[in-house]
């Protein structure tokens, strides 16, 4: 009886091993099944999903105009103080005083990409960009000012 058990153990062991090896061998001769991506060699063709949350950016049009009114909704929505809105008062040609942003300070090193600021923005001034290679040599470079120098608010946005 002992001999019988021993032989069946060996037989089962070898067959299960061969079964697994057959699967591995099948993939060995079917290189088309390989799905490995050769990053960073495939940088030119690599395309991330449109919605990928990589960093917060502020889109500007060709006249260097954005749609941020400086309402600080994003600053209030942010859970950990990543965004800081610095506002100033501009005088319009009619002589009225109007609130506008001086700088939208964004600290990438704090950001958790939760998208709450983008969801809170009433004028779609900021959005998430699908960039992901954020490494820099100096930490201070991660603190960004999102509005471009000299930019101003688009006409008609209140």
């Amino acid at each position: 009886m002992f001999i019988k058990d021993y032989i069946s153990d060996v037989y089962n062991g070898v067959t299960s091993l061969l079964k697994g090896m057959r699967k591995t061998g099948w993939y060995f001769v079917h290189p088309k099944e390989i799905i490995t991506e050769q990053y960073p060699d495939n940088r030119a063709t690599l395309k991330l999903a449109d919605r990928f949350k990589g960093e917060v950016v502020m889109p500007h049009d060709e006249n260097n105009e954005h749609t941020c009114t400086g309402c600080t909704a994003c600053e209030l929505a942010c859970p950990n103080g990543t965004i800081k809105v610095v506002t100033k008062f501009e005088t319009t040609p009619e002589g009225k005083k109007k609130k506008a942003i001086d700088a939208l300070v964004y600290r990438l090193e704090l950001c958790t990409m939760c998208n709450l600021c983008v969801a809170a923005c009433p004028s779609d001034a900021i959005k998430m960009a699908p960039t992901f290679e954020h490494s820099v040599f100096d930490r201070t470079k991660l603190t960004k000012i999102l509005n471009q120098p000299g930019s101003k608010i688009k006409e008609g946005i209140e």
Partner: protein
């Protein structure tokens, strides 16, 4: 030499003659994170296991007290990062229950589909990592191949692969991606054709079976008394699936079986998870073609304020029952928040399961508990 005081005591007791105390972790490849186990050995036999926690404690519960009801949801992704979507769902359900927010049907369907995809992704990762703990390296790649398809779907629709933050109180953050249904169907066909590979490679493997069968036995009584939930308790024959017992969202409309095994050993826990993946596929198949048209987010007030009182909801994550408990004073932030995480209770049964067995069996027992350390420590 530190002087022995009331606070600093010499706790390096070596016990009886021939006993050896081995520190496993906090940095150990098999603990999948910073788990520290103090293992008391007699030769090769385990006498006692004492888990030391707190290496990755981020005080998430305290942090949530300073965040508003919209903001605190994203932090819960960082608890059990493998089922972050289900964690977010639990918190959103509590706010919706407390404020009586109507959730559109479309959002409910998408939430359940994504929850089940998260569950499959979590079990896939567990399968690969568990097989790797037991010395099989290849299943890891095969499991990650299917998991990669799910993370691609998540990336398309939610915008992130792991910490999604796709659920907001009242619905979803944005509508599903136009390709969502097509990609999920492609995943289902791929998964169904490849799931036999796991059986060939892992389930029917003699070495795997002899290392897991009869190892780390947990009886049904012990599973209940230790508060185990999820696949760990279901492998011992305890019916504890929140989706069946207290259905939330659309789980009462879909047909699926609660997978229960009775052996209570490591192999039973393995089988429960593998069968659960097939049940998740079954749920997704029933819902994916029937996603109703309509809004993806319901009407909510701009500032959310829970009424004064205590609230509790529970959801079934990939690891077990996650309970969210909030005491509200009526303000915009929770007064006190407590998460009942499944991993903590499951880990507490480890000493009972592994004591008396050999140290090599500890890997199998610990692997099938499916521990995620940030979930235990929070």
């Amino acid at each position: 030499m530190i002087q022995e005081t009331e606070i600093i005591k010499d706790t390096t007791h070596l016990g009886d003659e021939g006993e050896l105390v081995v520190n496993m972790g906090p940095q150990h490849p098999a603990t999948h994170g910073v788990l520290h186990l103090v293992v008391t050995l007699n030769g090769e036999t385990i006498k006692k296991i004492e888990p030391h926690l707190g290496y990755i404690h981020r005080s998430i519960e305290k942090m949530c007290e300073s965040l508003t009801y919209r903001q605190f949801i994203y932090v819960t992704s960082r608890m059990d990062y493998l089922s972050s979507h289900i964690n977010n769902l639990g918190c959103a359900l509590l706010i919706e229950k407390g404020m009586q927010i109507e959730v559109p049907e479309r959002a409910k369907y998408v939430r359940v589909i994504l929850s089940e995809l998260t569950r499959i992704a979590s079990h896939e990762l567990w399968l690969g990592a568990m097989a790797m703990d037991l010395g099989a390296f290849t299943p890891f790649f095969y499991a990650f191949r299917e998991r990669e398809m799910i993370t691609d779907i998540m990336e398309d629709t939610c915008g992130a692969r792991l910490t999604m933050n796709y659920i907001v109180p009242g619905g979803l953050m944005y509508d599903i991606h136009p390709d969502f249904q097509k990609k999920v169907k492609a995943f289902i066909t791929q998964f169904k054709s490849k799931v036999t590979e796991y059986e060939d490679l892992v389930t029917n493997n003699v070495i795997f079976q002899s290392r897991t069968k009869g190892v780390g036995i947990l009886s049904a009584e012990d599973a209940i008394s230790y508060g185990c939930t999820g696949p760990v308790a279901r492998a011992s024959g305890v019916s504890c699936d929140i989706r069946k017992l207290f259905p939330y969202e659309v789980y009462d409309k879909v047909e699926f079986d609660e997978v229960i095994e009775t052996a209570g050993d490591s192999f039973a826990r393995y089988m429960v998870r593998v069968k659960e993946m097939n049940q998740s596929i079954r749920i997704i198949e029933q819902l994916i073609d029937n996603i109703p048209e309509g809004d993806f987010v319901g009407k909510t007030k701009n500032v959310l304020k829970l009424p004064k009182g205590e609230f509790y909801t529970r959801v079934e994550t990939a690891r077990g029952e996650l309970g969210v408990y909030i005491v509200s004073e009526g303000g915009t932030t929770p007064h006190r928040i407590k998460f009942r995480s499944p991993g903590f209770s499951n880990l507490s049964a480890l000493n009972h399961m592994a004591a008396g067995s050999k140290i090599g069996d500890l890997m199998a027992t610990m692997g099938t508990l499916d521990l995620v350390i940030p979930d235990i420590d929070r």
